[in-house]
């Protein structure tokens, strides 16, 4: 009975999905809604089918990158993977991914890997019975819909309490908030950066989780990696940052990327963001927990690409262009660090939208350490998007001294920036955008003849390609 119901739900959803795509519509939500309506125990069936091979990835930043890395590595090891790669991470989005990708023929090695919204974890964990739950980090993000950060951490903690007995948490131990979400008596592996040379003595950025969630005491720090992530301890209840069992060591800059070591393996990342090192560790921990062979993981680490719409490089009209998503202060701060360390940037395009998927409250740009821009010698900053002027005001107060222009339509701003011949240089265009303009801009760049710049001509990009915008 159950099985019959599940099959009807999958097939109906799949037909609907094909119809929608045939009509040129996105199908990341509606097929899942229908499937869940037809079979209210839909996720139980998915959980049974993939017992011991379900991975949920949650947290504020890095879910998509971790998901893509893990899916890629599983693929290399011969697994077939179903995953919500388009980033629709509520229950409907998960169900839509199942509806589209599930094969009724069982394979010897198969897994279901989902990135899951923080508030959705507790709703699906009992049915899906995941083997692994990854918690990346917690930062202030879109408070217009999530509410207070404390509450978000609590929601995830409630979800983790419902983990099946053989389940394991893979958690960022350098983040005191992620650490605090792990219930007692839960199997857990902590990942973290184990490189004291990377520790900053203080943190200028707006910082979350300043106080212990257990005893309320202000946390003490040996140093910070970024945001509240660092080597922390609580003088009140003696909790402290755990020694990471999955650790990145000996970090060094390597061209535009980073070299480091994971469990004795040499790893090379194609971007300089420290935050991506954490995503690599998260994916590594999950892959290990699933039993992926170290013979596969080791070589995979040697060239890690984290592009996939999060940070991608293109060439547009002869100009190099970087496109990256920014959606909260912590992520924006990290992108600004990448921007500062990228040579030859002449034009920066900042796109700020206030649609529902972006967050309707644009105040968060004032929590971004935009002052990092002062003294960086690019020629122009272009502000675009539905709230372009708000961004211009923020840049004004950062006292950046170059030329500031406002153009509503993001494509026009990039177009003008690319056509800009004036000034001393026509160098790299660096585009930072909120969610709703990311994929439209990416599609437009490719339509305009932009080509993806893989840096070294390599061909082993992750197999996931994202081009359709979905909300």
């Amino acid at each position: 009975m159950d099985r019959w119901r599940f099959r009807v739900a999958v097939w109906t959803g799949r037909i609907l999905s094909r119809l929608l795509r045939g009509l040129g519509r996105k199908a990341t939500t509606l097929p899942g809604v229908v499937a869940l309506r037809l079979d209210p125990r839909f996720f139980s069936s998915v959980g049974r089918r993939f017992r011991g091979r379900v991975v949920l990835i949650t947290g504020t930043n890095g879910k998509t990158t971790t998901n893509n890395l893990l899916s890629e590595w599983l693929g290399r090891d011969g697994w077939s993977v179903i995953s919500n790669r388009l980033g629709a991470n509520l229950a409907q989005g998960l169900a839509s991914a199942v509806v589209e990708q599930l094969s009724f023929r069982r394979r010897p090695k198969e897994a279901a890997v989902f990135e899951v919204d923080e508030a959705t974890v507790a709703k699906v964990v009992e049915e899906l019975k995941p083997k692994v739950v990854v918690v990346t980090n917690f930062f202030r993000d879109q408070m217009d819909r999530y509410g207070e950060l404390d509450r978000v951490v609590e929601l995830v903690a409630e979800g983790l309490k419902k983990l099946p007995e053989d389940g394991i948490c893979v958690v960022n131990g350098d983040d005191p908030l992620a650490h605090s979400a792990v219930p007692e008596n839960c199997a857990v592996r902590f990942f973290g950066v184990d490189d004291p040379s990377r520790l900053q003595p203080s943190c200028r950025e707006v910082r979350d989780g300043k106080f212990c969630r257990f005893c309320g005491h202000a946390l003490a720090y040996e140093g910070f990696f970024y945001g509240q992530i660092g080597v922390w301890s609580c003088p009140g209840c003696n909790r402290s940052r755990p020694r990471p069992s999955i650790a990145a060591r000996r970090l060094t800059e390597a061209g535009e990327g980073l070299d480091f070591e994971v469990e004795g393996w040499k790893a090379r990342l194609d971007s300089p963001g420290l935050y991506n090192v954490y995503n690599v560790l998260a994916a590594y921990g999950a892959a290990e927990a699933l039993g992926v062979s170290r013979d596969v993981l080791g070589p995979a680490l040697r060239r890690i690409r984290t592009g996939l719409g999060r940070v991608e490089r293109f060439t547009l009209g002869g100009r190099p262009l970087t496109l990256a998503l920014v959606k909260n202060p912590a992520g924006f701060n990290e992108q600004l660090k990448v921007l500062r360390s990228t040579p030859g940037v002449s034009d920066v395009v900042l796109v700020l939208n206030d649609l529902y998927a972006d967050g309707t409250d644009v105040s968060w740009i004032w929590d971004v350490e935009m002052e990092q821009l002062a003294g960086v010698p690019f020629e122009r900053i272009w502000c675009a998007g539905t709230r372009a002027e708000d961004m211009a005001v923020r840049v004004r107060y950062a006292e950046w001294s170059g030329e500031l222009r406002v153009i509503r339509e993001p494509r026009d701003a990039v177009e003008f920036a690319a056509a800009e011949k004036g000034g001393a240089t026509a160098g790299r265009i660096f585009v930072l955008t909120t969610y709703t303009s990311l994929y439209p801009l990416r599609d437009w760049i490719l339509e305009r003849g932009g080509v993806e710049d893989r840096g070294d001509g390599g061909d082993d990009r992750p197999f996931v390609s994202r081009s359709t915008g979905s909300v």
């Binding site: 217009d144 819909r145 309320g216 105040s363 709230r387 708000d390």
Partner: protein, 260 residues
């Protein structure tokens, strides 16, 4: 000698929920850009810093845990606070800070967290959150100006008879979603639910508060104008955008849950 101004940033580590440091940054830079000497004092829980030495005190909002920590410290400073205000210090409190300036905050469980009673008002926890862009008309020295901000609060604030709301809501919820009042003013003490940060898109209000604070230093002139063209453009854009968004604002109000 250049004009000097001292801004006290109250509880910058605890009350920083809605980009509240932006207001301090804006006041500081607008004074500095006019050649004034500006000192910003960060005042935390248990600090000995004297409130009365400040021309302007700014206080933001925090999460429940942080607000409780601040509430205790504020009570200890009550007399000091009153003396500062008597001597001409201007106070601007946003959201949670605003609630703490009132008589009390009553939680959903009926527990009353005492405020310092600088403003004659009280706040009661509500079940749904009031979230979204706000346009409100504010009166400053007889002149009226539209203020743009963003609100996100579940507390409903009610003013005692004789206490004036600071602004009148044109779009949004304001103090309680019922009487169109937004914020409260008593002499030189101002409280509001509007963040955004409040002063980013309202440079007129920022300068007016600055000017009021400078009176304490005997400054009576006019502030030289600044080039606020981006602020003006932002105000114009938001005005049009609010008309377009009207009726479809904040589909999530009242749920507190997430949705795609």
């Amino acid at each position: 000698m250049a004009t000097a101004v001292t801004i006290g940033h109250l509880y910058p580590d605890l009350l920083d929920l809605y980009s509240d440091r932006g207001n301090v940054m804006i006041l500081e830079k607008r004074a500095r850009w006019r050649g004034m000497d500006v000192e910003v004092r960060r005042i935390g829980v248990g600090d000995g810093a004297e409130l009365a030495g400040c021309d302007l005190l700014v206080m933001g909002g925090g999460m429940d845990r942080e607000q409780n920590l601040v509430a205790r410290d504020l009570l200890d400073r009550r007399r000091e606070f009153e003396r500062a205000v008597d001597e001409g210090t201007v106070v601007l409190a946003i959201c949670g800070g605003y609630q703490l300036l009132g008589e009390y905050f009553e939680t959903g469980r009926g527990e009353k967290i005492p405020g310092i009673g600088l403003l004659d008002l009280y706040t009661v926890a509500g079940e749904s959150r009031m979230v979204g862009n706000v346009a409100a008309v504010c009166r400053m020295d007889g002149r009226e100006e539209t203020i743009f901000g963003y609100e996100n609060h579940s507390g409903r604030t009610f003013l005692r008879p004789g206490t004036e709301p600071w602004m009148r809501v044109v779009q949004g919820f304001g103090n309680n979603g019922e009487d169109r009042g937004e914020g409260a003013r008593k002499g030189r003490v101002f409280g509001t639910y509007l963040h955004g940060p409040l002063l980013a898109k309202n440079p007129g209000l920022a300068d007016w508060l600055l000017r009021l604070a400078l009176e304490r230093r005997g400054f009576t002139g006019e502030l030289p104008p600044l080039n606020d063209r981006w602020e003006e453009a932002a105000r114009k854009n938001l005005e049009q955008r609010l008309i377009r968004l009207k009726g479809m604002e904040s589909p999530h109000v009242g749920s507190g849950s997430t949705g795609e």
